[in-house]
């Protein structure tokens, strides 16, 4: 399945990792990480607010610097890697895609909840028209059946997406679930297939390897897992495993290990790991970026964060509904 195929690796340290730092990277930190990723020859480096372009808000948090400052600085630091960005329709608009392109973005990923692909039509069409490498990103892919997910992926492909991702935003997919979805995408789609996940059930690297074995053309990882919840598939670990498996990525291991040990881990204010609350995200099937918001609300209103996460799961909240975390905490705090 994997012989002779170049797997494209999309790093998410500077986008998903924004969640882990409450969007507070300094420009210097981003550039230092990007230089290491570029040295390692990672294919794509995604830079955005955790919730995508134009994500700065009370609801999701304001980043330490502007989008433009981050994209310009990282773009200027790259000699091999391409610059990527994420956009969620409903938060960002086509105007943000146009601005990102002017700032040197090469790859744009348009993310919707797994049942709502049609809201991405205008953005995918716009991005293709603009000549960007255009990716559809189906979030919370664990929430619907494989057949339903394939139908949504086909919509994204029909709008012009060149790659469509299975996105395990809650880190809730089991190993067979992952294999089944990637298998089905490979059979049903003519475009490339990608996989992005979170380590909430401790399956970050394992499920990404399964996705590659099932034929995924593009996969995500973050250095030291730097991402929402328990973090993403740890990129340096993935590259080490793929090396041992004889799967060629062309990506250097040592620069990634150095980046993880010397740069990323020392920056983490809260360890990015599969601890109790992060585990609960995967267990309850909750959007990973809810973690820090939930811990803050739990502390403020004197509620057990696990109770908040379970209630959010029961209410079937989806990505973007961070406002409901405080709403749930307030409701739980009432005698």
């Amino acid at each position: 399945m994997t012989a002779g195929r170049k797997i494209i690796v999309n790093d998410a340290t500077l986008r998903d990792g924004m969640h882990a730092l409450a969007h507070q990277y300094t420009v210097e930190q981003m550039v230092a990480i990007a230089q290491k990723l570029d040295e390692a020859k990672v294919d794509i480096i995604e830079v955005s607010h955790g919730d995508g372009l134009n994500g700065n808000s009370f609801n999701y948090g304001f980043s330490a610097h502007t989008e433009e400052e981050y994209l310009r600085a990282v773009g200027a630091a790259l000699s091999h890697s391409k610059l990527g960005a994420l956009l969620l329709p409903g938060i960002g608009t086509t105007a943000d895609i146009a601005r990102a392109k002017e700032l040197g973005v090469h790859t744009i990923r348009i993310a919707t909840h797994c049942t709502e692909a049609d809201v991405a039509k205008q953005h995918i069409e716009f991005a293709r028209e603009a000549g960007l490498d255009t990716v559809g990103f189906l979030m919370m892919s664990h929430m619907i059946s494989t057949a339903d997910l394939v139908a949504q992926a086909k919509l994204m492909e029909s709008y012009g997406a060149e790659t469509v991702y299975v996105v395990d935003s809650a880190g809730a997919l089991l190993m067979d679930d992952t294999r089944e979805r990637i298998d089905a995408f490979k059979q049903a789609l003519g475009c490339a297939v990608g996989f992005h996940n979170h380590n909430n059930l401790g399956l970050g690297v394992a499920n990404t390897v399964i996705a590659i074995q099932a034929g995924a053309d593009r996969v995500d990882g973050s250095v030291a897992g730097m991402g929402a919840g328990a973090g993403n598939c740890a990129l340096e670990v993935l590259i080490a495993v793929l090396d041992r498996m004889g799967i060629e990525t062309g990506i250097g291991l040592y620069p990634l290990i150095d980046c993880a040990d010397q740069l990323v881990r020392p920056m983490q204010k809260r360890p990015v790991q599969t601890d109790g609350n992060a585990l609960m995200l995967g267990y309850a099937g909750v959007y990973s970026s809810f973690l820090l918001h939930t811990e803050r609300a739990a502390q403020r209103y004197g509620v057990d964060p696990r109770d908040i996460l379970v209630e959010l799961g029961q209410r079937r909240m989806v990505g973007g509904q961070e406002d409901m975390i405080v709403d749930v905490a307030l409701s739980l705090s009432k005698p």
């Binding site: 609801n59 409903g90 608009t93 973007g320 509904q321 406002d323």
Partner: protein
Amino acid sequence: MGKTPAAIIGSGNIGTDLLEKMRRRSTVLDPAVLVGIDKDSDGLRRAQSHGIRTTHRGIEGLFDDEAFADIGVVFDATSAKAHLHHAKLLQARGKKVVDLTPAAVGPYVVPVANLDEGLGHDNVNMVTCGGQATIPIVKAMSDIGTVHYAEIVASIASRSAGPGTRANIDEFTVTTARGLEQVGGAKKGKAIIVLNPAEPPLIMRDTVYGLVESDDEAALTASIRAMVERVQGYVPGYRLKQDPVYERVEQRFDDGRVVAGTKVSVFLEVEGAGDYLPPYAGNLDIMTSAALKMGEEIAIAQGSQA
């Protein structure tokens, strides 16, 4: 005084819900004609079953209808593109128009925020569903102190997001943000929309954040509560889910501005009346309810001039 005859253009979900609302609830307006383009549409059949005149020949069919001359208010629930065409024709014929599309030919109106401004124009626009739900709260904050920034998150059931909204979701965020500024009084507005596919469908939720130059929490709460009551006058299912939450913050914005003030968080739920569309579709209900309210006020103002 008898009811003023009204015409509704558009026999889809919104137009039909508006028709049912007007037929059942309005003491001011009478749905005289429903205009569609598909003679088999549920909306037109429903209107006929109530003895309401219909045409499936679009706006030309309306102009040819014998009831047209007496129509006092025309509601347009078609699309932005269609409304641009309709607006010119209706203006030439001297009709007052309430526009429920995103065309925004006329000024944005929210009945509890800028009714009087709306009454001064022949064509008024109802912003968006998220705007109708949240602009009143921003206005309530503006009445107490300068709102430097207002942000809203509208969560609606996937089933209540029609093809028009889905095909152009940017229009929702951009138009709502502008409404927060122009009608709500915020110096800067931002809107976020989230579609949630849960079954059974979730009732519309709206969260409004304001950065307000006032630390008078009691006055803010009183103003917000009073505004909720006023909206309940035409949308009974409009509710505060929690007491407003207050935090002192200092916020730096992308344009370099640093603003110190009170961050106010208001959690709303909008349950529809279930006139035609199901109660979870509060987003559609608040749109038709606000439009009906606006149309009634226009008819009353016309009547008092006559």
